[in-house]
Symmetry: C2
Subunit: 262 residues, 2 copies
């Protein structure tokens, strides 16, 4: 009997939670409060969607979705996501006080510890991935994750996003922001899962194309919810994008236009 | 005819400079100013001592000191060092306005771009290392670098350093700060060079012990120069440690005590 998608996602998320907890510093680990800030940033929240995509891509490539190496790699991708949220929320960035329904890391632990917690989660992701298993395919997965996290991916998108605040931007720029800021990690999740699942170049290209489209859909949904949702449900301040004049799809196309694109 | 150590170090530093420039985003690369901040943080300064240790350790292990993979790995280690300086200088950290005789990155490019430039240099280091060559030894080198950059290494030391400011700390804590904040990257440099140079476990242990001692000596020298040197020669504010009541060897042992230990 096959599980429903929802039950499967919940089971995977629970497995991811357990592995993340095992890789994070122990509770009360020295130096406190760095280790506490790291645990706070990662555990007890998050839908673990990116790790799910790693597993799904591995399955699509013919590999196991929950096997040791793939589960470890899935957690590495989630650690990159977690670090990026901590730094995005910092006062010099989006200055967001709320994340996943709790005070942001810098509100709870101070700005310096939030900066350092992010700085520690980023290499932890590469450590978890590099130790996920042996062989050259793991090395290739590291290169994928590094690319996605860097200036041509996540950080490039975040820079474009900050620079575009309050500016008139065209659709190409909104897409470039999305492709970097959120899209690159979706692509990395799919490609890493594919690689570890044994995908050939053709299948990797298919997975990449799928992840790109999925990333755009996800961002559209997130942008629409930012405009129409409630802080208590979102777990982060609603309408924050509009307040900051962020270059989003709804800002460009209108709410209805964004809904149609989605 | 063998080169003098000074000439050899200068030749290596020039090679490192060239490879670093090739891996950084191109001049005028998009998004400006992120790419400009990354280049500013890395190029045109720095003695490239950590890359030299990577090459020297590879030679000690019997491998070539300037070969492709080792030179690439040496640059990866330097990128970690460069990122750490950018984040250390930020207002919420050491708030240092001067680095290598120039305005710090956040002074030149603003706080957000300095944060993001560091966030981009960190994964770039792993990208450069993961693409340095093929094979499982490169994967192991990635794990070493990630460990050194993380909460048990660099970031752990930086956290301890911040937390110790203005506090009475004992020698064990000063050593723990040094071991993390500066020592871990020296150890990683030696171990990565050793691994890629073909060292066995015994030789790796020797290299680790050597790098630990070297790291302490280097830190002692840096601390002593902070107290006795001049800003114009150091390229960064002198006596900054004492002004912040940093937990350093001279603060613990006195200047003469630190000199004796060195």
């Amino acid at each position: 009997m096959s599980l429903s998608l929802g039950a499967k996602m919940a089971a995977r998320a629970a497995a991811v939670e357990e592995v993340l907890a095992a890789h994070l510093p122990p509770e009360g680990g020295v130096p406190v409060p760095l280790t506490a800030a790291m645990r706070y940033a990662v555990l007890g929240g998050g839908k673990r969607l990116r790790p799910f995509l790693v597993g799904a891509a591995a399955e699509a490539a013919g590999g196991g979705g929950t096997g040791g190496v793939i589960l470890q790699a899935a957690c590495a991708v989630e650690l990159i996501h977690a670090y990026s949220l901590v730094h995005d929320d910092l006062p010099c960035m989006d200055a967001s006080p709320l994340r996943r329904g709790k005070p942001s890391v810098h509100v709870a632990f101070g700005e310096a510890m939030a900066l350092l917690a992010g700085d520690a989660l980023l290499p932890l992701a590469f450590q978890v991935l590099a130790r996920a298993g042996e062989g050259d395919v793991v090395r290739r997965a590291v290169a994928e994750l590094a690319w996605a996290a860097g200036w041509q991916g996540l950080v490039g998108g975040q820079s474009r996003d900050l620079l575009a605040e309050g500016c008139e931007v065209n659709r190409a720029e909104v897409e470039a922001i999305q492709r970097g800021k959120t899209g690159a990690i979706w692509v990395a999740a799919a490609r890493i899962g594919g690689l570890l699942g044994g995908a050939d170049e053709g299948r990797l290209a298919d997975l990449t194309a799928y992840a790109r489209r999925f990333g755009i859909l996800f961002q559209l949904t997130d942008d629409i919810l930012d405009l129409t949702g409630d802080s208590s449900v979102l777990g982060k301040p609603a309408k924050a994008d509009a307040a900051k004049n962020k270059a989003t799809f709804p800002a460009l196309l209108g709410l209805d236009g964004a809904r149609r694109l989605a």
